[in-house]
Symmetry: C2
Subunit: 442 residues, 2 copies
């Protein structure tokens, strides 16, 4: 099971200070479990690993099999929480090079998460004349980025396969009953999966939102859910022995001491998009009411040679959380070199895992010496089960942490601001007043 090590934060936050967060944590935990806090309409993720719809998971796996059998490419259309989780899990468990590596599952491209023509046209080029399917993911069906790109790829499907053929290759993950996409899915007969009403986008990776693309990539979704379920049970414990409670307490205590920025670090480059997923989870949950820890991330050891200088010696407003993975999936020995011009024969025959491990240990001590407190989240290995544990850990700790901070961790009112301006500038009916207002400013 996932563990946390706070020993390298203890010179910044004492045990007494951590313990002083217990009443707030107990209150936060109660709010989550009783549904008595702000945003309590969005707590479905808390018990999801136990209470998910088994029948739907069976349909997800069957749909994944069908896509694997009739498609060389799956285009996943979604933005924010309808994009990051699936991409993150696929890159972490399969590879950031998933689409390039030899495999017997379809290539997977993510569209509709931006409005850039070059990026969209590239996906069309990459599909070429190969068979493809589309998984469109949107609660409402009206969010601009995915809706526009769904129009593009749906048109492509219809041209290639006809209306009926296209409909059999479109999988809609959307509201169970309402909205533009649900209406279309019902009318056209798309196979549909549900975005539960009580789970927000950034908490949705273990619903159909994440699970269908993840299953198409050949990842064992049952093991992923089992991992999350194990964490759900383990993290019911009250007190600072619970890693989620400890993490929530420590990062809030560090924020109170001026550590405004949290760096999530990992020594495996496949983690890059898991960090992006984490940034949405924490940034969107806590970044409101003029407060919240600013979430950032680094790829190590790579970024020790870019952001390392700042981490070591820059403004002392940083805390660091390292996701430490117990072992890599493969091994690679450092070759011996009789000449030894590089002076590295002291590493000859060592597995890269050990070199990476000592880089990790040495870096933590260096950063602590430089004034950056470190929290270490330990995963046993890079597997579905361990990742399921970590996903649940970060979700639950985020709910706790947000309540401890005093915000509603489950809303995101600030996301509407740019949309309204964009609609006004694009001439959407109903936005005429704002359009006039903006025109005067531009």
């Amino acid at each position: 099971m996932l563990t946390i090590n706070l020993s390298n934060a203890k010179s910044f936050v004492s045990d007494e200070e951590l313990a002083s967060y217990l009443p707030k944590l107990e209150d936060a935990d109660r709010k989550l479990r009783e549904g008595s806090g702000k945003g309590s309409d969005f707590l479905g993720w808390l018990t999801l690993p136990e209470q998910y719809d088994r029948e739907e998971l069976t349909r997800i796996k069957a749909a994944a099999k069908k896509i694997q059998s009739d498609s060389k490419v799956l285009v996943v259309i979604g933005i924010g929480g309808s994009y990051l989780g699936a991409r993150a899990v696929i890159e972490f468990l399969r590879s950031p090079q998933y689409n390039l590596l030899p495999k017997d599952t379809p290539e997977i491209y993510f569209a509709g998460n931006n409005l850039n023509a070059d990026a969209a046209n590239e996906i069309i080029t990459l599909i070429g004349d190969r068979d493809f399917s589309v998984n469109v993911i949107s609660k409402s069906g009206t969010t601009t980025e995915p809706a526009v790109l769904f129009r593009v790829f749906r048109e492509l499907l219809v041209k290639r396969y006809g209306e009926k053929g296209a409909a059999s290759r479109i999988y809609a993950t959307t509201d169970k009953a309402r909205g533009a996409l649900k209406t279309l899915a019902t009318a056209e007969g798309y196979e549909s999966f549900v975005i539960p009403d009580n789970i927000g986008g950034r908490y949705s990776v273990l619903t159909a939102v994440g699970l269908l693309p993840i299953a198409v990539a050949g990842i064992d979704v049952d093991a992923l859910m089992d991992g999350a379920h194990g964490a759900m049970e383990a993290f019911k414990e009250k007190g600072l022995d619970n890693p989620a409670w400890a993490y929530a307490a420590c990062r809030n205590a560090l924020l109170a001491k001026g550590k405004r920025i949290e760096l999530l670090a990992c020594y495996d480059p496949a983690f890059r998009f898991m960090a992006e997923w984490w940034k949405q989870l924490y940034g969107e949950s806590e970044g409101k009411d003029g407060t919240g820890i600013f979430p950032a991330s680094v790829d190590l050891t790579a970024d020790l040679h870019s952001m390392g200088q700042y981490i070591q010696d820059g403004a002392r407003c940083l805390m660091e959380t390292v996701v430490h993975i117990g072992r890599s999936n493969t091994r690679l020995r450092v070759p011996d070199d009789a000449q030894n011009l590089d002076g590295l024969n002291f590493l000859s025959g060592k597995d890269l895992l050990e070199v990476n491990e000592q880089a990790f240990r040495g870096t933590i001590l260096a950063h602590v010496d430089g004034g950056v407190p470190n929290m270490v989240v330990n995963l046993e290995e890079k597997t579905e089960k361990a990742l399921g544990e970590m996903i649940y850990f970060f979700e639950y700790a985020c709910g706790l942490s947000g309540y401890v901070l005093g915000v509603n961790p489950f809303d995101q009112p600030g996301v509407e601001a740019y949309k309204k301006n964009m609609f006004a500038l694009l001439g959407k009916p109903g936005y005429e007043d704002r359009a006039r207002e903006l025109a005067a400013r531009l």
Copy 2:
């Protein structure tokens, strides 16, 4: 030519406040041009676009042609500044999907920027039995990450092509005279290119460090240098009409007002690694002596659905710099939909570029309303010339900005701390004392 627009920062920093930075900027500019400031041994980048070694550039282009003709894959081995610039330029001008897209140039993989076995083994798998070459980039040849991975890929080359065949497929970018890699290159007869003594890693993208991989990717390196040269001439102007002076003044003025974090944003996902390059340039140049703006980045509009909430409503310690690109390289029209269930027919027939442009304009106003000052750096288009201008702009502005802040923008003493600990923990000869010290702490 690149321009800057500060109109959306003016409600946070007045013209008078900006003008108050003029004496410091004049002093900073003098230090750069006279070489009279701290770190003045590392100012080669300032006149590089004019004074680069033409003969070497001819050899770089010839080497690129040879690699294109005899290799399906190029493995580029380097870390930090010996990695980020080339990857960033290739992803931006070709594509983040460069290796997947149809092309008549070799696939390019970056190794030696981490110590992860899975990442290295994947590159070996991706090479498969195809012909490949290696460009190893290291000033000393002893930096752990690239040196270890160079051992791995050199062994692979020797196994496949023999000692002599391997030597003809290894290109060393290193010191002109000294160091482990230069010694090896001379002994083995590798074609070598020079990392100039007076250009630090983060400023080296327009030297052989960046230019060889960039040329292999089929990018016009002459046009890139021409762009930089144009910027070098244009940005000799003194005063706040010079975009680099204006940028340096504005970001320092905003830092003085508590805007501790600078977000670099772009509405083209191909920019992701240019932002990583920028983070090294600014973070490593300014993050020292307990100060410096913390550099972070977002991909828009994607991250408006993840970090957007924080930017709009979180802790008010952010400034935002948007790299705005005048046009995309391709076009894509929003299809019309007779049913219009998504309500987006007001966009029908519009080019995606226009939709993206209004998202950009609307977002800036939303962020300013939320308390985030915005600076906009305008590139005319996504071309070699425009990118060359931008690279020089950010380099020069960084030198100015660091001197205005009062730090040495050209050293990176903090990068050594983790290395020393790592060597001690790995048992490197000479690190026994530190090893005992660390063992006591662990």
